[in-house]
Symmetry: C2
Subunit: 707 residues, 2 copies
């Protein structure tokens, strides 16, 4: 046997000598051969019903098994049976307890059929079986036993969506992974790009069931017939994978492409335009998901342009898509040009009064925090505050404010921190997760959306580790209470290696990486301290310009007296937007977590932190700790070389070097800036910034990506 | 043996079951296993000297042999010996006749060394050996015997260059293959992207030895220290492959990044700026190739802004890079805003008077034709007209005017037509090729440049067949007199299949494809009839706007009386810019080739073509013939399915369908437009355009790529 293996290996070399490129394109669906010692037995696949979704489920199972343990063979002792009771008499006969699986869940059970050990992967609908197949393969990918399975699982959130901020010219707003994956120019005529299928496979593997194709800063053109056809071609590709297509709708479209003089949502002609537009779309895309709308925010048009309200706007659109089963997802990321109030308060102020007034097929999509996807923000006060409204979560997967693609930051802990925050809306245990999954107030139309980090780069997300952020987002959308440490481990195993000498240190590194970026960018509750417009690198000195709440100084409020934004009753009183016990804690220096300190309080440079350090010394210590932690990540990763192919290992190594350099830059520039106010010496052992403040202020970055 | 093979194949399937994606990324370096019947014997590679270039030569040989016929093995009967006499005593002992090989050529010979059959691949310099390795592998790739070789080859042109019109924001002007391959943002810190190496391999395999990284519409920023470092990182990757890096230089850089008030080339401070800038660049890139300059053309700054001449500008820059061995490539694509003269005449008028005045390290780079990369143009009158000047050729590889990436057009015949044109400068046989290779006037510094069609798309060039245009350009730059039919065959064999049932029809299809696009876009010498600005689709009605010579009507001059641009003595007299016998022929209706008819003549709609048809009838016939020919290409390709993998076959099929649709559109829109002047009925059997002229004129294409 040994000799034969050698001969075959040599022959194999002769036949296919060029190693498959390990460029990360396979993502976590990297079905490489399992070591024989793991002992997985070959399997046969029982006949599968001939539906589009079950066909792709079967194909995925074949592909996965062939890659992992060898091609399915009719001669194998074990059988895998996939499908639904409806389409498979064999499954129907098993009378499985499928009720809990709902529309999209599945059961995986080891049973005996005709004397043969059979793994049945069943759903009530085809897509459940597809999800089950991915789950089954992941068990082998993560080296879990599959001999005697009894798994039941179903998603807790109804709409698990990616929001692509992709423009029609293939640029991606806040995208750091190359061009848009959508080649609009060649669509709909060329929709056979294998990348579209791989995109659908990856999403289905983590349960994502919706994708908004175009930027929320939308063009009306995307709702014209040629672009509807393009979206339709993508919808056709995605449909077998259980993924619906949505479009961002520009509110002023009735004027721009409808020939009307107004977009007032109360105007009958406007209503008729949107009805007709919805009818037109559903003719091409019968399962079109609906519209995502950014209205009256950052210059986008909206109902307020006509004295109408967000309710008027959202409900009007909801009435257009409702008859077709569509939804309207209306963003709460709204802050007024006119209102001089603390920007953190404006979303709540705008939407809270409308609770209960939106149609059943409207979802208000709220960012995790009240400012904008910062390295750390307290949870948005709207969560728990609108019990009679469908409230969706919007996370950012792309790292606009967290180092773009070249900083290794696993976002799981950020997401988890928000989801596990307790709104106290109905007393203890009223977590954000329970708002998002609808259980807190018994809501059925639930949404978790992630702003995608996907582009045409070969590795999809611009770096290897950013793939983990796509992955963890999907897993949390399926179950907002899942452990992001467990998810990190699954991802690391599926993507790189099951060797425990790899998994343990890499998961630790991932789990710590978010606190690290907070430390070197915006420790102790600081926020919005990045460079103007491109949001790259430190810019604590950013001031002036179009509006105060787009500057750094507005948020840090550094002065000779101290640092931080007073959001207590003596300041903007944003704390009052939270449930009383939560707000009281945020306002109380003895209760508030120091991670949120300067978000809620303006404090003297000499304020004593729990560590005993002054605020100034503690601030500097945090920055430096962040830099050291990146150094440590580099050392950890250097030790992973034995477990990772050279190509991916090298890329991560190079990116960690960039991150090290930039973490240092963030620390130095921030220390130089804040020292100009604190006028205090650096703590002992802290090196002074190597350049003058003017040097850091003078750096410029034309052609930064993602703008 | 047969059983063993089956066992191994099964085992191989179990180990590496997922087929390598046939996405075109491998280009013509697709080293797939040769059928055993071809009888290539395994080989050993003799020890190779440890230089950067010989290391990559050896790696390529190993990779190629491993893919094609099995990994090199020390036990093999045949030996391959690569290197130079200088670095290899074994090669030195052979006393090969390497004189003709020059600096970059090679010898491939079968000899006997120590009783062993040895294939020696030798150059005077390492790069020659590298080129020889690629040639040797191509012999196997195209199934030619390698048992008894005696090949000597050397490039006829000194600088064989790609010009990338790549912008610093990663857009590509006139690029139809996605973003720029240069990820400026991550350079220089991340230069390990395997794509950079694959780019260098592909270029070296066809002898390209220079690349201009940035757009001729240049930004001064590209000459600042951070961008020089980025270019330097790429130069380091490319150096082992014999490829030098060049930069497009913005003439006004002394003002924009040098703090000067002028860019006057006669100003001492300006001269000092460029000297210092050259010194700075050469410190980072010791083998920097030099500058490419677009000056006083289409709004770009230049010496004329200060009353100085092209000679002043070019020579000043030449003096800056000259001491470092650099060159200045100065584009002759110049036409004045002020001059109302026929645009086709302006390049000649501007440059001809300066013959003999440029420095030895200046090359004037002339586009193949006098307008701008049209589907067909007569050769540029500057060829042959500046015997005392280094005159380089600029071809366009990207298909700005030939259907972008989705029309199948093999450009070999276009290049060949120009290169074989006889300028008659020194009598018969004074071909453009002999101007380009320097032999006509004994010039040493020769250039052939191609405007690249390369982008970050997985298949590099936006389509499978556009790879052939990159390939044929390189092969012609090596030997401007090569047969583009032979080159097409090599490419088709290396890229797809050696099956003669594939090669013959596909080469025929490729060779006819250029005449086809001429037929459906601009037959009989018509030119510049495309849509405004994006240059996509028909736009014969384009008129008005910024300048007349950016419109279609300026060039077609359609009227009730007829069609065409009179460039004879009764018109612009552009014919006088050619050598007398050439110009006389162009001017003579009895002599001029009908393919150039309307380029030189304005003729009545009733003018009799050689076919006996009237001009109007013939024009319509040409358009329709183009459409039919695309149809035929579709049928040919459909029959190629047995010889091509499904992924690439499907993509080409889908693109041919797009081309069919768009060829019809070109025909219909053009016929509708010109019929509004000719007022004549269509020839019998010709279908009227299905839409009104207004319909065609009303089509718009926002977000067309490449602008």
């Amino acid at each position: 046997m040994r000799l034969l293996t050698v001969i075959c290996l040599l022959a194999g070399l002769a036949v296919a000598p060029v190693a498959r490129a390990e460029d990360g394109h396979d993502l976590w669906l990297r079905y490489r051969p399992v070591e024989a010692s793991a002992g997985y037995a070959p399997a046969a696949i029982a006949p599968v019903a001939d539906t589009p979704t079950l066909k792709v489920a079967r194909a995925e199972l074949e592909r996965g098994l062939a890659g992992l343990i060898g091609a399915p063979s009719a001669q194998a002792d074990r059988v895998i049976l996939i499908g639904t009771p409806e389409s498979s008499p064999a499954i129907a006969r098993l009378t499985l307890p499928l009720k809990a699986a709902g529309d999209e869940g599945y059961l995986i059970r080891t049973v005996t059929v005709d004397g043969k050990t059979t793994t049945v992967i069943a759903g009530n609908r085809d897509v459940g079986a597809l999800y089950g197949v991915f789950r089954y393969l992941s068990l082998i990918q993560t080296r879990q036993p599959v001999d005697n399975l009894n798994i039941s699982d179903a998603p807790k959130v109804k709409l698990r969506m990616l929001n692509h901020w992709d423009n029609l010219d293939r640029t991606v707003e806040r995208g750091y992974a190359g061009q848009s994956v959508w080649d609009w120019w060649k669509l709909p005529d060329y929709s056979a790009d294998p990348r579209y299928v791989d995109y659908a496979r990856a999403n289905a593997s983590i349960g994502i069931n919706g994708t908004v194709l175009n930027n929320v800063n939308a063009k009306a053109l995307s709702l014209t017939a040629p672009y509807i056809a393009k979206a339709g071609a993508l919808a056709d590709v995605f449909r077998p994978y259980g993924i619906k297509v949505y479009l961002s709708a520009r509110f002023s479209s009735p004027i721009e492409i409808g020939g009307l003089k107004t977009a007032d949502p109360r105007d009958p002609a406007v209503k008729a335009f949107w009805k007709a537009k919805a009818d037109e779309i559903y003719k091409v895309i019968p399962d079109f998901g609906g519209f995502l709308v950014k209205a009256n925010s950052e210059g986008q048009p909206g109902p307020q342009d006509y004295g109408a309200t967000h309710v008027d706007g959202a409900n009007m659109l909801a009435d257009a898509v409702g008859p077709h089963g569509g939804v309207v997802i209306w963003r709460a990321f709204v802050y007024s040009h006119e209102q001089p109030d603390d920007r953190a308060k404006q979303g709540y102020s705008e939407f809270k009064p409308f609770d209960g007034q939106f149609r059943d097929n409207v979802v208000i999509q709220v960012k995790n925090g009240a400012i904008d996807f910062q390295p750390r923000e307290p949870f948005h006060p709207l969560f728990g505050a609108m019990p009679k409204t469908n409230l969706g979560m919007e996370f950012q997967i792309t790292k606009e404010y967290l180092g773009f693609a070249t900083h290794l930051v696993y976002l799981g802990p950020l997401y988890e921190e928000t989801l596990r925050s307790d709104t106290m809306a109905h007393g203890k245990g009223s977590t954000v997760a329970k708002v998002v999954d609808g259980s807190l107030d018994g809501r059925k139309l639930t949404v978790m959306a992630g702003v995608a980090n996907i582009g045409a780069d070969r590795n999809w997300s611009g770096s290897q580790f950013d793939q983990a952020n796509w992955y963890v987002f999907g897993r949390l959308a399926w179950d907002p209470e899942a452990s992001t440490r467990d998810i990190a481990a699954d991802w690391a195993r599926m993507t790189f290696s099951n060797d425990k000498r790899f998994v343990a240190p890499v998961v630790d590194m991932m789990m710590g990486s978010r606190e690290t970026v907070v430390d070197y960018m915006t420790p102790l509750g600081l926020h919005h301290q990045m460079g103007r417009s491109h949001h790259y690198g430190p810019g604590p000195w950013v001031s002036g310009g179009e509006r105060a709440d787009w500057t750094s100084v507005y948020y840090a409020k550094a002065g000779p007296d101290g640092l931080g934004f007073d959001r207590t009753a003596t300041g903007s009183n944003a704390v009052a937007q939270y449930a009383p016990p939560v707000g009281a804690c945020f306002a109380d220096l003895k209760c508030v977590d120091e991670k949120d300190l300067l978000w809620f309080h303006h404090l003297s440079w000499d304020y004593r932190l729990k560590s005993g350090q002054t605020l100034w010394d503690g601030l500097v210590t945090h920055y430096s700790r962040g830099v050291s932690a990146v150094d440590a990540m580099g050392r950890t990763w250097a030790g992973m070389a034995p477990y990772v192919d050279a190509e991916r290992h090298g890329q991560v190594t190079d990116f960690l070097a960039i991150q090290k350099h930039e973490a240092q830059w963030w620390r130095d520039a921030s220390v130089a800036w804040f020292q100009s106010f604190s006028k205090r010496p650096l703590p002992a052992g802290e090196a002074p910034p190597p350049h003058s403040l003017e040097y850091y202020e003078g750096l410029s970055f034309p052609y930064a990506p993602g703008i």
